[in-house]
């Protein structure tokens, strides 16, 4: 991409001129002729430096090796600069945003005596989101280093998907779909789990005959097996609040956990969907397949953007929440609106599980004698909140920093069922 540029005295040349003028002024003010010996070399250096051509435009190209990647995957970033005339130096200074880290390559790279220059780096995105890499400050200095021009370049945008943690689909809703899947249902079918024994009927396979029961009863009996069924999973992300250190905020944790859970269920043939609470209500109905994971991941990228829209949480569409779907809410349990939503869903008969993603406590004020008391009240308040949810039949899972999501979810053996279907 060609860019029109303006040339300015280089920073070093301006500094030489400024210091020389100061020395001259000091000589005049103090009457100390010797100070001219400080100014003369600086001025002479400016005059003696060769002055080359200054082209009107510079061609800059910034490219990244991928437009989509997962967190902590490495990306090659390359920037090339081409100038019509001979330059003394073309320097590149990569200023990475906090969400990226530099893996290889020096942040500052310089090429001497050239018309074209290229700099490359390997960077690693640390936090999910839709981001551009840069800016890369490209500074071209003409011959003698007295004139320079600077342009900025960005590469991207790049969609950085959240890296899903390893999770197994442990939680199974009481009601399963009629589609074949990997969860053991209550209905009798063609699965592998033992479900019961019944009398032989014409058409039953001989390999299903239970010979022990047959010999005891004197009549042919066959084993029944439980049906293997698929489940519907709807993940909800509470984006009403986003707190914590950058890269490890509650929203980051929630999005990563949701991605892990969705990937695990989709891998076993289940259907997965998502609803984001916060700002404009966004949802994606449950669907199977790997493609659905990427659709969900792309939708999640928009969660972080600020929105002044107040969502109508009472109108979550039926296609986003099919009957019997397992609902898992990732929330820091701070905003009452999201808790109201899950309580309402539970009362409507949905199996609901809440994953608490708040991993830090408020830091007490050093000068306040009441901070300890305030912290204790805060803890009690949260305990009461969790107790209230569990009393309503909503298990609350804590996900500490030093624990895998899979281990945290293992604490819930089964999702409570409730009479009455939505």
């Amino acid at each position: 991409m060609k860019r029109q540029v303006s040339w300015y005295p280089a920073r070093g040349a301006r500094r030489l001129a400024t210091i020389a003028l100061l020395a001259l002024a000091a000589a005049l003010v103090t009457g100390h002729a010797g100070l001219l010996l400080l100014a003369a070399p600086l001025l002479a250096a400016l005059v003696a430096a060769p002055h080359g051509r200054r082209p009107d435009d510079v061609e800059i190209n910034a490219t990244a090796s991928a437009t989509r990647c997962f967190e902590r995957e490495e990306i090659e970033l390359a920037v090339t600069a081409a100038v019509a005339g001979q330059m003394e130096t073309i320097s590149f200074m990569l200023e990475l945003p906090a969400e990226f880290s530099l893996v290889t390559g020096s942040a500052a790279q310089v090429t001497l005596e050239c018309r074209t220059a290229r700099a490359s780096w390997t960077v690693r995105p640390e936090v999910w989101g839709r981001r551009s890499i840069g800016p890369v400050h490209v500074t071209c200095s003409g011959r003698g280093g007295t004139w320079s021009t600077a342009v900025q370049a960005w590469a991207g945008p790049i969609d950085v998907f959240p890296r899903p943690p390893a999770v197994r689909p442990r939680l199974v809703p009481p009601e399963l779909l009629r589609r074949i899947g990997e969860h053991t249902g209550r209905a009798v079918g063609e699965g592998i789990e033992f479900a019961g024994v019944r009398s032989y009927l014409p058409g039953d396979r001989l390999r299903d005959v239970n010979w022990r029961v047959t010999s005891r009863r004197g009549q042919l009996h066959v084993n029944q097996r439980a049906a293997q069924r698929a489940a519907d999973l709807v993940v909800m992300i509470d984006a009403f609040s986003d707190i914590g250190p950058p890269g490890e905020t509650t929203l980051d944790t929630a999005v990563r956990g949701a991605a892990g859970l969705v990937a695990a269920y989709l891998r076993t043939g289940d259907r997965a969907g998502i609803v984001t609470l916060g700002g404009m209500l966004r949802w994606l109905g449950p669907a199977p397949g790997e493609r659905q994971f990427y659709r969900i991941a792309e939708m999640v990228l928009g969660v972080r953007f600020h929105s002044d829209v107040t969502p109508d949480l009472g109108r979550i569409p039926r296609t986003a929440l099919p009957p019997g779907a397992l609902v898992v809410l990732f929330s820091p349990l701070i905003d009452q609106r999201s808790l109201g939503v899950v309580t309402d869903l539970r009362q409507r008969g949905f199996p609901v599980v809440v994953v608490d993603v708040l991993r830090a406590e408020p830091s007490g004020l050093a000068r306040s004698r009441l901070s300890d008391l305030g912290l204790r009240i805060w803890r009690l308040d949260r305990e009461a909140q969790r107790f209230g949810l569990e009393s309503a039949g909503i298990p609350v899972i804590s996900w500490p920093v030093d624990e895998e999501l899979d281990a945290a979810m293992a604490t819930v053996r089964r999702v409570p069922a409730m009479a009455g279907r939505p």
Binding site: L28, P41, E95, L112, S307
Partner: protein, 215 residues
């Protein structure tokens, strides 16, 4: 090369103080500290940020990042969210661009301190000429592009040769002028120097607008 720059800065400051140890120690101390910062700008930037954070903490003035417009749902979160959000707002390590700015700013301060010290001291003409050439070397090293190393640095230094030769010539001219008319007015010396510079600019060959050379 960073250590050489810092050493040049230290020598620049120490020479006028050693020649006339009567005062201006505060200027010398500031100059010495800044000379050291030009050698180790990362530490200088870290110290500057630490000092700024301490001052902000004492005075309650928010940092620029903390008064930036809302960056997401936290802006509408309840009070509890704000209390927890206060964690993790520690300043990060200074970036390469910040270190570069600190280095060049410190170098400029060193140069100004040297001018003040030289104006107040009784350095003889030869020492002053040495100071001038050393000051030029210091400023040239200060203006080197970030990221120079090894062979590239040597090649870049070779490109500075015409400027250094011009500076040596100019120093010689001024020395000769001062020796020829001892005790003359600085105005007179300045006029002579300006005339010499103007003659050089007029006579020296340079590139035309279309790249052709003309004399």
């Amino acid at each position: 090369m960073r250590a050489v720059t810092a050493l040049a800065g230290v020598v620049l400051v120490v020479v006028p103080v050693a020649a006339d140890p009567r005062g201006l120690y505060s200027v010398a101390v500031v100059g010495l500290l800044c000379a050291l910062v030009t050698g180790w700008p990362q530490r200088g930037a870290a110290v500057a940020r630490h000092v700024a954070a301490t001052v902000r903490a004492r005075t309650g003035i928010p940092a620029r990042a903390q008064i930036a417009p809302g960056r997401g749902p936290s802006a509408v979160g309840p009070d509890t969210a704000t209390a927890v959000a206060a964690k993790g707002r520690e300043p990060g390590p200074p970036g390469p661009d910040a270190a570069e700015r600190v280095r060049t700013a410190a170098g400029t301060v060193v140069a100004i301190a040297v001018i003040i010290l030289c104006a107040a001291s009784r350095l003889d003409t030869a020492a002053m000429a040495g100071e001038g050439l050393l000051l030029l070397g210091f400023l040239l090293l200060l203006g080197r592009p970030a990221g120079l190393a090894g062979g590239t640095a040597r090649a870049w230094l070779r490109l500075r040769l015409p400027a250094v030769l011009g500076a040596v010539a100019a120093t010689g001219i001024v020395l000769a002028a001062l020796a020829a008319v001892p005790g003359s007015s600085p105005w007179l010396a300045l006029g002579g120097l300006a005339a010499a510079a103007a003659a050089y600019v007029v006579a020296a060959p340079r590139d035309g607008p279309d790249g052709s050379r003309r004399g």
